[in-house]
Amino acid sequence: MSTLSTASTESTKNKLTLGRLQLALRTPSADTVSRIARALMLPLIGLLVFLFAWHIAARNIDTSLGQFPGPAQVYEQTFGLIADHNRERGREAAFMERQEKRNAAILAKDPGAEVRMRDYTGKPTFIDQIGTSLITVLAGFALATLIAIPLGILIGLNGTLYAALNPLIQLFKPVSPLAWLPLVTMVVSALYVSDEPMFAKSFITSLITVSLCSLWPTLINTAVGVSSISQDLKNVSKVLRLPFMTHVIKIAIPASIPAMFTGLRLSLGIAWMVLIAAEMLAQNPGLGKFVWDEFQNGSSDSLGRIMVAVLVIGIIGFMLDRAMQLLQSRISWDKNAVVR
């Protein structure tokens, strides 16, 4: 109000601008508040309703492993798992320290002695398993992408190749990871033989299973994206007599980026789901194994811990998708496109 009264002593023109300014400041701010409320409040209400329903439902379910975990138990178990992890890290550090001391003592006695450092072989914690799963899924997804995008571009550009490969794609696309797994395990055991393996066999098995199941959406979407490039752009390329690689780089890839990313995001989602199932079935290290171990363990904490794993799997899946979305808006040439 004080600003307004000062303004009234100024010229009318000034008053008008100031009034307009205040108007401009006030109205959208109310608008913004309601928009923020909408963006924050509604999801929050949804979350609260869900937590409440979960709490009520959990209280009424009794299993042979005790009561079904509600939000409170899950909250508690989350910190329990983190504490476990820290304890395990502490043990590892102590183990290493003891070794170093012992080695130092040996070296002090006899400088020429050969000393060895042994790896700590404690049980992997929940957090270690998350790390393993993340590395595996990203490696599997990377392999799938490396196969799917070039192949998709070739199929999209070449109708003959598309006709030849399409039945195969349709045949393998719906195959469940669990069906592939025994075959992949046997093939990896038979072919991946080396004295000093760079990767564990279980890692390779998980990786290949993930790739086999997740490459299809990227492959199909890339092919569709490339094959639906407008005839006009194809004609431009023909008139210019662009060489094959220039055509791919300058026209096919940019034109199919949106379709490609749709495929990549579907693929990454599938990769993450497949990995958990594969780890569970094959007892390969990772979150799937964690869930299975807890289930077999059958302590009163087990269900709570599994529920923590379920939520973490969900959150990681969500974050992976968000990361892809971010990458898409970074790479895409069409900055106006709405990425959902």
Binding site: S230, D232, L233, N235, V236, K238, V239, L240, R241, L242, T246, K250, I251, P254, A255, W333, D334, N336
Partner: protein
Amino acid sequence: MTHLELTGVAIDFPTSRGPFRALDGVNLKINQGEFVSLIGHSGCGKSTVLNLVAGLYEATEGGVVLEGKEVREPGPERAVVFQNHSLLPWLSAYENVELAVKQVFRNTKSRAEMKEWIEHNLELVHMSHALHKRPDEISGGMKQRVGIARALAMQPKILLMDEPFGALDALTRAHLQDSLMEIQARLNNTVIMITHDVDEAVLLSDRIVMMTNGPAATVGEILDIDLERPRNRIELADDVRYNHYRHEVLSFLYEKQHKPVEGDSQSAAPAQKAAKTAADAPQLAQDMHIVKSTPGETTASTAA
């Protein structure tokens, strides 16, 4: 000297009911530096003729010869300006032209020469102020200018334009027509342009090739436009010869090649109404060429 020659060109397109003959017996000779318009009702095969010259289609019978060599595939010496600009949306104006220049001159021009050549061509179409704008950031007319610059930058033996200004509003179209005349006067390109705009055809062309209706469309009449250059659209609007040429084209399109399906219900009524006003205000009706009519056309429409 004949620059481009189409001899007995016919083309069949496969359909489910056997081959469909779109063009039949098209003969045309075009000289170096000539500006030729193809005009005809939609679906009469104008674009097919252009695509044959571009090498995007292959003739079933007969052939196209450019400077003594038969056209068998597309190539940059027959640059095309497409109707909807066909710029790559992920490249800037400069990069779109660069793609063409790099392809055509990679062995003959140095990097600096190419840059100069790209900028020169964009300058020619008055686009120097928006070199690094992408197609979605510029207007339709500007996109078409870049499309023309890209085609010119290939230094083609013949420039093929497929309704280059068809998608633009009347004022922008007039601007671009003037630009095109100016460029053509400077570079003396050989141009084939498809149009459905009678004024555009008369204003720009040395010759107008009028096509009959399909199927089996062919060249109906060829009209020599003997108007001295440079041409001015405002002066020509009152010019007796200009209006005579317009009349020739209109009477070909609406009397000799009248399309019974499209013509009747749509054009008859407005044509009658417009006939009275058209004589009083020719410049107003300039861009309403379909509505504006000659007495001959009116009778044709009402009779049919």
